[in-house]
Amino acid sequence: MQQFELFIVAVIFWGGIFTFLLYLLMRMMNIDKQLKIVESQIEGEQ
């Protein structure tokens, strides 16, 4: 029974951190793309 709880706690801890990290990385990739688009638009206007 204790093995189960230990396993769940590890999943909560690392799962929480890595899920958040993954979410941040996905947002980061997305935001970099958007930033490039916006910057190229500004250059295009000039």
Binding site: M1, Q2, E5, L6, I8, V9, A10, I12, F13, G16, I17, F20, L21, L24, L25, R27, M28, I31, D32, Q34, L35, V38, Q41, I42
Partner: protein
Amino acid sequence: MPKNRLIFLGVTAAVSLLYVYMTWIFAPPDVNLGELVRIFFQHVAPALVAYGAFGGTLVCGIMYLWKGDLKYDILGAASLKIGLLFTTITLLSGMMWADATWGVYWNWDPRETTTLILWVAYACVLAYRASISDREARAQFGSIFGIIGFPMVILSYISIQIWDTLHPQVITGSGLEMAAEHGMTLMVSMIAVIMIALILIDFTYYIDSAQEKIHRIRMARS
């Protein structure tokens, strides 16, 4: 990605691996807790780091009100989100621990209750921030809310000294009351979790300020 950030990421990964090794292999089973001592290392460090992150929100709020620079507000919000993440981890791992030792997931222990209130309070700060559309007002009033929410952190921290509680009191005035190996593991876990938290805060800050920049450019163009 800048070089400094990559180096910091590498160091964190190394420390985290050491932390995993120490938690699961190095630390011997405790006299009282047995194998459950391994939960301890994944419960205490996130809790203290969450308190620290909310403290960071407080400091950033004060800095924003003082300097009026939007970057402090973004940093405070990032710190707030990471604090919430770690409070969630603390609550859930605490629930599992309570189930293992006391047989129930939740027994309204003062520490549990105050930590849940803390979670709700800071989640409310996040929701409150989202309800204000004007950027300057959001920063200003969000900072104020972040400041007046801080007494809750202190209450949660001292709750085990006020009430009779089942929650073990490890860090007392006379230092750590545990085996040397466990003390070392706790130190490593603190360092690892702090570094992880700093990375997450840094990423969130980077994303939010980029978002801010894009938003501002779009506003200026339209």
